[in-house]
Symmetry: C2
């Protein structure tokens, strides 16, 4: 398969998931969003499950690129930029539909080992990226010496998960979480006397 074909099929899968959600998604729905026929999709992927697993891989690669990007003058700025990036919809129009499909896939975690492995890779990637910035900031003295980079990164990943699940379930706005996260960084993570303000309201 050429990269172009892969991009095309993955784009179609994204659009089909946004339109139909995960539970009722059929190969035909993906074909309908694609220039490829259902038979061609089946030629490349044995089942809908295989295609969705390939989609999660594809998403992982693009997510890895995306969360590597945020940067800043120092670790505090970098953490703030990273958390902002993780709370910013890539596409306002389809964000809620897509996050809903992802929440459906998360609810498959206990029943589907392959999905669970892939979800765990996302979870670890996010954790490790945040932990790296925290560790760097503790070493440079920007974050307090008693900040636990591992536990704090787990906590932040939990908060990001909660922001997405509340956004889907009860439409709680991502901005609310963004504001509180900045306050958390300020009150719990910054080194004493840094006098920094990361809360912009």
């Amino acid at each position: 398969m050429t990269d172009e074909t892969i991009d095309e099929i993955m784009g179609a899968t994204y659009r089909a998931l946004c339109k139909h959600g995960y539970a009722s998604l059929r190969m035909q729905d993906i074909a309908d969003e694609s220039t490829k026929s259902k038979a061609t999709l089946h030629y490349y992927y044995d089942s809908k499950h295989d295609l969705l697993c390939a989609f999660l891989e594809y998403l992982y690669d693009s997510f890895a690129e995306r969360i590597a990007e945020p940067t800043g003058e120092d670790p505090v700025e970098e953490l703030t930029a990273l958390l902002d990036c993780l709370l910013t919809p890539r596409d306002e129009n389809t964000h809620q539909q897509f996050q809903t499909a992802i929440l459906e896939i998360k609810a498959q975690g206990p029943y589907d080992e392959t999905f669970r492995e892939k979800l765990t890779r996302f979870d670890r990637l996010m954790h490790d990226r945040i932990e790296g910035v925290l560790r760097e900031g503790v070493e440079s003295g920007h974050f307090a010496a008693d900040v636990d980079p591992d536990g704090t990164a787990e906590f932040l990943v939990t908060i990001l998960n909660g922001a997405r699940s509340r956004y889907v379930a009860v439409e709680y706005p991502l901005d609310g979480t963004r504001t509180m996260l900045r306050r958390y960084v300020e009150s719990s993570l910054l080194a004493d006397g840094s006098g920094r303000e990361v809360v912009a309201e």
Copy 2:
């Protein structure tokens, strides 16, 4: 319907949700867990959707009783007890299955207005209960004067949602979140110089 009949049907719905999840649940699965026939269930509830809405109501009442209980010598103890209660499985054996079904129902939020309304009631109940304890603690001087009870309660509800969704999707243990929540209360919410320690490790 007598209270006994209601309890019986709701218990059967709980067990059927744990066994089959939400997406593939049929009235027959609930009947199989119950002393009532499928025809009897249909006599009381027009559809599976109606029964599940009644179940969410029933769950709400029991949740309201449960989160009213935690108490303490002062607002700090009460908040800690409340967060512990919200992160403690009621039944270890079925907790993951049940939380998985609830996550599936949350993913229905955008498509199903009735579910969304009911989920919003849970969300508001949890928020208002936490906000009340925070407000009391700010007034009594146990929590810092600049703690925002409303925003902080939203943040805590987000964290509790995230703990549940990560527990389902990637088996991240609830205990990890419990520890970090206690640190958060200590570093971000307690009044300066209270010298309190809520972290028990």
